[in-house]
């Protein structure tokens, strides 16, 4: 029998199949839908990661005091005298003016922004709250930051009692919107809002010197972090090495007991991407399990189907069917069950992935949205068909090997 005819008969079998076949198909539907939804989530994450990496500024490094592989702030217990007038406690490891001076000597560095950070009490029109405050070097901040302004302007070198605020603080944090030129009270002092960022944070940015005044427990010329913009992003690793060497020298530490950390946005993004992709691999593995369960379902249905159609196989053989014909019809039938399941599954997978970001809320996993690529659909369809064929292989082979006389006698 020609292949096309075998296909026709296999198709006929699916069309005339009973509820049982449809239940089997549902198994594949669930597996494929899950795989597609998860892959689309992963691809959405990937594309978000890429755009984020571009927006983050791959040429930025963040230097912080303390060093620990675990990522904590406070590393070794080695104390250090505060240079440059900084008053540091014996045990505290800090970044200060001398570090800044040392970094100034490195030609790879284009500019540096010194920052301090803490949480502060704020109030606006009687409504109070606690938000994060960042003091920045207003002379370079606007050039170094990857943030963008939505309303108003960045901080100016002449600025004193003014702040730039995150969009969420401006729009929804208080009962009334906190717009440009409005006054906000921070730790008892009044500040004028000159800019609103295009982001979704509640952070307040103010000139570094003002921040030292507001934040009592921060000492002058001691920084929480130094943001470095390098001249050439492509030499990032070299630049990091130079900075490390210089800082180790000035801080009298070796690679073993270093007490500062340098992180690049690039590295961070890459690490995060790695974490996300292993996470999505894990989810994919779970989805794959449901596909395997679906495959077992197909095998089961095919075995039953072969038994049920034993007499038909006998009839077909009596009237001229070769073993190959029977094998092909049943194999194609299994493949079709897989394919139909795959198609329906792809449809529901698409729907599901559309709904996922909403379902998962604002978890970082879903922030990138979803993206159902043709690739993942084609892959899911071929996998589901393959699953059908593999699962149907043994039953189909058994069916094809039936002796006509035995098959005909079967009731």
């Amino acid at each position: 029998m020609k292949l096309i005819k075998c296909f026709k008969h296999a198709f006929n079998m699916v069309v005339h199949s009973k509820l049982r076949s449809w239940l089997t198909i549902i198994g594949i539907v669930i597996g494929v839908a899950a795989v597609i939804a998860i892959v689309s989530l992963g691809e959405g994450m990937q594309s978000q990661m890429n755009s984020q990496l571009n927006a983050l500024g791959g040429d930025l490094l963040t230097i912080t005091a303390g060093y620990s592989r675990g990522g904590g702030m406070w590393g070794g217990g080695r104390g250090r005298d505060g240079g440059g007038g900084a008053v540091a406690t014996e045990d505290e490891i800090v970044l200060d003016r001398s570090d800044l001076q040392a970094l100034r000597g490195i030609s790879d560095i284009l500019m540096m922004d010194t920052q301090i950070r803490d949480s502060v009490e704020v109030s606006f029109l009687g409504k109070k709250g606690t938000v994060s405050l960042t003091g920045v070097d207003q002379k370079v901040w606007s050039q170094i930051t990857t943030l963008t302004i939505r309303d108003g302007r960045f901080l100016d070198s002449a600025d004193q009692n003014v702040v730039v605020i995150g969009a969420r603080l401006a729009d929804t944090y208080f009962d009334q919107p906190l717009g440009i030129n409005k006054m906000i009270t921070i730790e008892g002092s009044s500040f004028r809002v000159v800019g609103v960022l295009d982001d979704s944070s509640t952070t307040i940015y103010m000139p570094l010197q003002m921040a030292y005044q507001i934040l009592d427990d921060k000492d002058n010329d001691v920084y929480d972090s130094i943001i470095v913009k390098v001249k050439d992003e492509n030499n990032l690793d070299e630049s990091i090495a130079k900075i490390e060497n210089k800082l180790m020298m000035i801080r009298h530490v070796t690679a073993k007991d270093r007490d500062f950390s340098i992180s690049s946005n690039k590295q961070m993004s890459e690490q995060r991407a790695e974490m996300m992709s292993s996470m999505s691999m894990f989810l994919l593995a779970i989805a794959a399990v449901s596909l395997i369960v679906g495959a077992v379902g197909i095998a089961n249905t095919m075995f039953t189907s072969v038994i049920e159609k034993t007499k038909e196989i006998g009839i077909m053989k009596a009237i001229g069917a070769k073993n190959r014909d029977i094998l092909l019809i049943f194999l194609l039938n299994a493949a079709l069950i897989g394919l139909v399941g795959g198609l329906i599954g792809a449809f529901f997978g698409g729907l599901l992935s559309g709904a996922l970001p909403t379902l998962m809320g604002g978890t970082p996993f879903a922030r990138g949205g979803t993206f159902v690529s043709l690739n993942s659909v084609v892959m899911a369809l071929s996998v589901s068909m393959l699953v059908g064929v593999v699962a149907g292989a043994i039953p189909a082979y058994q069916g094809s090997k039936l002796k006509p006389v035995d098959a005909l006698r079967y009731e």
Binding site: M1, K2, K5, N12, M13, H16, K311, E312, I315, M316, K317, A318, I319, G320, A321, K322, N323, R324, D325, K403, P404, V405, L408
Partner: protein, 236 residues
Amino acid sequence: MKKDSRQTMLHLEDVWKIYQMGEVEVPALRGVNVEIKKGDFIAIIGASGSGKSTMMNLIGCLDMPTRGKISLKGKDISLLSESELSSFRGRTIGFIFQQYNLIPSMTAFQNVLLPLEFLEVDDKKATEQAKKILDLVGLSDKFNSLPSQLSGGQQQRVSIARSLVADPEIILADEPTGALDSVTGREILDMLQRLWKDEGKTIILVTHDLKLADYAHTTIELMDGKIIRTHKKVIK
């Protein structure tokens, strides 16, 4: 008796069929010799348990003998591969079963078309042939009916159409009227007789009904796996 010059269609030489029932060997056929010539109309009769079903399976090349040799049109069937035998059988023998054995999910037309599909006959030719044969058995208006929508007699006519569609030389009918009333049964047998007389088909009829055997010109009677009597009518 003068020598019969007609072609030998089927030749069973000392054919034994022994079934293994656990420890016990049950012989169903014990050294049967039959030669069926082109244009014969043979009835194989016998009570149940006489071995006629076994004989019908062997004659139809659906089963292999335990001992002995079966030749279909001069070819020893034990030398053919399963697939070769299937094709050969499909071209040479048309089956009519007691229970019609139509494929329930296919229409009358699709059922009749099926043997031609297995033989990979060109689509256009196959369609024409299937239509012609369905017309011949008087089912022009039932092309698209499923077997479940047809009466027993109609189903048997579909099955006759299916057995004829590939133009086989031998028609093997196993109790073709067993499930039909006597009037319809007679119609079916008249049809078989016409095929024998007008088309020159070789007809082998397996039945327990002696009245049916009257239609045939040769009657072979089986008992306990052996041929006990071969009766030839005088052909005018």
